[in-house]
Symmetry: C2
Subunit: 332 residues, 2 copies
């Protein structure tokens, strides 16, 4: 037998000797209740530990106040920061955050259905990789979706992200200014649009500067992935300037370079992306691009509001310029 868990407004009303409507009004901000009635109600409510349920209201309005936040890899400090800031902002706006960790597109289908059942008001995807199929699964749920760093757009699916191509271009310009001759790129997963865009911008920037095509290695947004890629780049040819798809890779790259006897920045200059806390730690002192998370979050929230208002507005994409912080890893 399950004991009843929460007192209802009816019980409060009975105890206070008023109608249930009076109780409801007492807990409704703008409603008209006499001070006498309110006091009786509050006293009764307090002694019973009454908290008006939000559930009936959700049923009436079809708005839950819940926003789903789909994430993979919180071990990347960048995403941890996104979650933190996004959750804080949503809470300020009176929303609650449903955190949905996901390890692959595959699990996303099941998740989308579940979220629809909870009547979430919007979905924010902070996944490094989001396929078009997965995006469409989300889109089909009739819930506004905003995706971080993924160019997919569709009906009710928008996207915000760092201007990765611009970052790549600036990385090339900086390395050129520091006089490097042999550029290389340490990539993230092949299906990560962010990594691809950064490489494209990097290529364009190098070309504009009259430098050769970068050699490319790597395939994961991880420390170990960066280390392996760097080792490979070192053994297979000349390198004196490396742009890494993110900071995590860059840290692995730096450590591997040092193990191989290269000095930074004297022999090789390294640039990362995300400007995570570790970039400024003494052992690394890594030049990196800050994606400006607060701006990304604001853009995402504004986009959600717009989609919710217009109902089924077409997808948009918004890019935020990254901000370069130069540190020891690229100094002359």
């Amino acid at each position: 037998m399950v004991s009843k868990r929460y007192p209802t407004s009816i019980e409060v009303a009975r105890l206070a000797g008023v109608s249930q409507s009076a109780v409801s009004r007492t807990f409704t901000p703008g409603a008209s209740v006499s001070a006498r009635t309110r006091d009786k109600v509050l006293a009764a409510a307090d002694s019973l530990g009454f908290r008006p349920s939000l559930i009936p209201k959700i049923m009436l309005t079809d708005r839950s106040g819940l926003v789903a936040l789909v994430v993979g890899g919180l071990e990347n400090a960048f995403y941890a920061r996104v979650v933190q800031i996004l959750a804080a902002r949503l809470r300020e706006a009176g929303n609650q955050v449903l955190l949905v960790p996901v390890d692959s597109d595959y699990t996303l289908d099941a998740v989308a259905a579940r979220l629809a059942q909870y009547r979430v008001d919007a979905i924010v995807s902070a996944l490094a990789v989001l396929s078009r199929d997965a995006a469409e699964t989300l889109s089909a749920s009739r819930i506004p979706v905003v995706s971080f760093n993924t160019p997919v757009t569709a009906a009710r699916v928008g996207s915000v992200g760092s201007d990765n191509a611009l970052g790549g271009w600036q990385a090339a310009a900086l390395l050129h200014a520091r006089g490097i001759r042999h550029p290389a790129f340490v990539a993230g997963p092949a299906d990560s649009p962010a990594s691809t865009e950064r490489l494209t911008g990097f290529r364009d920037g190098l070309r504009a500067a009259g430098l050769p095509e970068p050699r490319v290695a790597g395939s994961a947004y991880t420390y170990d992935g960066g280390a392996e890629a760097a080792t490979q780049l070192c053994t297979e040819g000349a390198v004196d300037g490396i742009f890494c798809a993110n900071d995590l890779c860059a840290l692995g790259t730096i450590d591997a370079l040092r193990r191989a006897g290269r000095r930074i920045p004297d022999d090789v200059r390294v640039i990362g992306y995300d400007d995570t806390p570790a970039a400024s730690w003494g052992g690394y002192d890594l030049t990196s691009f800050d994606q400006d998370v607060p701006a990304l979050v604001e853009a995402a929230l504004a986009m959600i509001d717009r989609m919710a208002a217009e109902d089924a507005g077409a997808g948009e994409r918004e890019l935020i310029p990254p901000r370069l912080t130069e540190r020891g890893s690229t100094r002359s």
Copy 2:
């Protein structure tokens, strides 16, 4: 005017030419529906994009399937990992995770009320600091609460954590075995029970080994806090063995020591707590204690189940022994 967002079972029933009850039964696992009826219903549901709402069920059962996860400081990789693993396990169990970021005990009061309104089934607090008052606020909401690394217990409030005193003791034993003479402790916030317990265990271990009282510095679980503490310890006296309240401090400590010209482990040995990814990075190679997050999570979930079953059972506390991983920062 807000357009209707979701189709209802009544609309599906109308389209399929059956009763609304039939629709409900079709989506209820064990119910008895003829194949013919089910097919009609499924076809209609599909064409309308129908997803049965969970909200009415919550209203009927007073169980939302929502578990709140209260966190501060996701920038600490340890907590990011806790959130990740906990969320994954809860989802396997069919629960959804409500993520509640909080920056102080003060905001917790408001949060507790809100969570009660959503009828969350349980609250997990992964806060470094949780005061007794705050715990009682949570407890008053009649919702089972499990707290990480905080010794508070009360009715419906349990606690799981690493056996910090044991870890402290082992840290002392290890440093003693490595022949240090001048121990020190880099502390977390003064009101963090985890930090205090680690120090207590460390003190006891040192005493048992015949070593002097440790000097103590520091006051935050941060990289910068660790760096400042280390600088202070270096300038104010002799040090050759430092136990840090967590990894983040330890990394700052190591970098500050190096800036001060000390070699690690030759001049000073350093031990951290949490065994975060950065501990094994090349630049640090930090000896650290793994809190065994999966075990902590299992213990927390089991405790929640027990509390939910017994209804208002007394609070318990469960300790998981930490696992030491020795790396270069303490080798001979």
